[in-house]
């Protein structure tokens, strides 16, 4: 018997969580309001009471809740992360999502029965890396980094058992191996690994230059939008740069991931869970994306075809890509 496919959806706020659950999420993921999680943005995340209520809401609607503690513990302050683990377990988390092997070790010892997932921030990209976390700490599921081709995902999934695999299928796209990128730290002093932010709004400035809007991160000019051109958020790895005498989006175009066309193939190779990125997204977006993906997954489970175009329309006019899933991306 095969495990039913799971749709894993972002919940940036208590209201966002209810929206995702109501729209059909099989599970939601969220974090505490501090630097223990990799979406440490103002106005996002949950305090302790909100987390308990969120877990109760999810459980009352047959959904699961995973709590992300996926930054790397600060030396001399590891208690903040360990307390996060304890409180997440107490709140009723079905799974904890972690990247720091020291924290994984703590969680396993302090809560032997707790289900643990390995965050994408740990970038476990080989059967051996997955075996390390599975064999030492009983990791039950690994969220795969977005640097792998479908063939590699297939091989990993086969080797990972009984550990399940979860892959990103929609939303923002890191072009660097996750959890191993210090571009933001280099430009702003704030990093995904240490502070849970990337290219943070506090370090973004805009200025008018002739007929254009110029965007800077940490004082570095990385994008220029001509009048009338939609101005996307300036993320360092999606900026425009000068190299080798030419100006280009050297690392990646301002695109987002859309692997909807690959869903049947990913299901066929044994991937357990499909993840949607976007804890910072608004409720209307979450609602429509979750609904559309749930419909597709239900159709697949029933052996029916689903309408890919409906999901294509969700990228809000942004260009999309299947990213590293296709080998030519490299």
């Amino acid at each position: 018997m095969t495990t039913p496919l799971e749709l894993v959806c972002p919940a940036g706020t208590p209201a966002g969580l209810r929206t995702a659950v109501d729209a059909g999420a099989h599970s939601v993921y969220c974090g505490f309001r501090d630097e223990t999680n990799a979406r440490n943005f103002p106005g996002l995340n949950f305090d302790r009471a909100e987390m308990r209520e969120a877990a109760a809401y999810a459980h009352a609607h047959d959904a699961k809740i995973a709590i992300a503690l996926n930054t790397f513990m600060r030396a001399g302050a590891t208690d903040l992360w360990k307390r996060g683990v304890d409180d997440a377990v107490a709140a009723g988390a079905d799974a904890l999502i972690m990247a720091d092997v020291g924290l994984v070790d703590y969680a396993r010892k302090a809560h032997p029965k707790q289900r643990l997932h390995l965050s994408v921030q740990a970038a476990a990209a080989t059967p051996e890396a997955i075996a390390f976390y599975r064999d030492h700490f009983g990791i039950a599921r690994v969220v795969l980094p977005r640097v792998l081709t479908v063939e590699e995902v297939s091989r990993l999934t086969a080797h990972a058992a009984p550990c399940e695999t979860e892959v990103f299928v929609f939303g923002g796209l890191c072009v660097m191996a996750e959890g191993r990128c210090m571009l933001s730290s280099y430009a702003t002093g704030k990093s995904p690994n240490m502070t849970g932010v990337c290219s943070p709004p506090s370090h973004v400035t805009y200025r008018e230059d002739r007929d254009a809007l110029v965007a800077c991160v940490g004082g570095f000019t990385i994008e220029r939008f001509e009048r009338g051109e939609p101005a996307g958020y300036p993320t360092l790895c999606k900026g425009r740069f000068l190299a080798d005498g030419a100006m280009s989006h050297l690392f990646e175009d301002p695109v987002s991931l859309n692997a909807v066309a690959l869903l049947p193939r990913l299901a066929e190779i044994g991937v357990t869970a499909f993840k949607i990125e976007g804890r910072q997204r608004g409720r209307a977006y979450i609602s429509s994306v979750v609904r559309a993906f749930r419909k597709a997954i239900d159709a697949m489970a029933a052996g029916k075809k689903f309408d890919i175009d409906e999901l294509r329309g969700l990228t809000e006019g942004q260009r999309d890509t299947v990213g590293a899933y296709k080998k030519t991306w490299r």
Binding site: F72, T78, A177, T221, R240, F241
Partner: protein
């Protein structure tokens, strides 16, 4: 009595022609006051066959020069063959520097070093890696001195990234190839044109990053010159010098003198800055400010 700070030469991260690579290590073997030398392709397995043919010869030369030789492994292995190659080097009995958790798993408790590409940010994770067999651990370059102080005490295992362009990110995609309008599979090894990395500037021409195939580094050159004493006091046992095309023998001598107290940080900074460095000296990460920050002159 405080311990003598040792010097480690990191692996050459860039795609240098084989002859330059061999000559570089020969000179290191004969003239550089470094204790340990790491070698091996860390960034891109496509480059590996070129140096494989001469690795034995280079290892032999370094050992005759009295250096401890460490084989540094790929930082982002994904393919089956890449993993098999790492396993082969372990089997062959080399001292291994692991740059990815997969390699730690393959080592299965055997004594090894950990390179700057494994995420060790705190004392708990460091202790866990020591338990797994690590005897030397080079910390990630973004860690501030404050964290290093908490982590280095009492284990005689911590190494700090002390010189060279700071490695910032790894990807499956090759940006050297992309900049030339091609993809990784058809790369033609264009990364060999930029031996300190390809400079990347902002839209207004401010130097920002450097690209080395699938790796991104800072434009600046990390140099912890003014913090050597603080690092030793913190319990750090080794400084890592990451090869650039400048005179690395001279760089090693400057850091040796600094570690021995026979030169001042100011003299050392001056000596470094007259070398042909690819960027300005920086100690931003160590000071806990943006890593691009250049060293403030007294």
């Amino acid at each position: 009595m405080t311990q003598r700070l040792s010097l480690t030469l990191g692996s050459v991260l860039f795609n240098w022609p084989v002859k330059q690579w061999v000559d570089f290590y020969a000179r290191i073997a004969d003239e550089a006051p470094v204790d340990r030398v790491c070698l091996g392709e860390v960034v891109c397995s496509k480059r590996k066959p070129f140096v494989d043919d001469v690795t034995l010869e280079v290892v032999d030369r370094l050992e005759r020069g009295g250096k401890e030789v460490v084989y540094s492994t790929l930082a982002l292995p994904t393919g089956k063959r890449e993993i098999r190659d790492i396993g082969d080097m372990i089997q062959a009995g080399y001292q291994i520097e692991a740059n990815d958790i997969a390699t730690v798993h393959l080592l299965n408790g055997k004594a090894h070093s950990v390179g700057p590409f494994i995420n060790i940010y705190n004392e708990d994770t460091l202790a866990l890696h020591l338990k797994l067999g690590a005897t030397r651990i080079c910390l990630p370059p973004e860690l501030p001195l404050e964290s290093i102080r908490t982590m280095a005490q009492g284990n005689a295992a911590v190494e700090v990234f002390a010189f060279g362009r700071p490695p910032l990110a790894l990807s499956a995609r090759c940006y050297s190839a992309r900049a030339k309008g091609t993809a990784k599979d058809a790369c033609q090894f264009v990364c060999d044109r930029d031996r300190d990395g390809m400079n990347v500037e902002t839209l207004d021409g401010v130097p920002f990053l450097a690209v080395n195939g699938t790796q991104t580094l800072g434009f600046v050159v990390t140099a912890v010159v003014r913090h050597v004493e603080a690092l030793r006091d913190a319990g750090v046992v080794s400084l890592r010098l990451s090869p650039q095309t400048c005179d690395m023998v001279r760089v090693a001598r400057i850091f040796r003198d600094l570690a021995d107290g026979s030169t001042t940080p100011q003299e050392a900074s001056e000596s470094l800055s007259v070398l042909h460095l690819p960027g300005p000296l920086s100690d931003g990460f160590l000071r806990g400010v943006p890593g691009c920050s250049v060293t403030e002159v007294d």
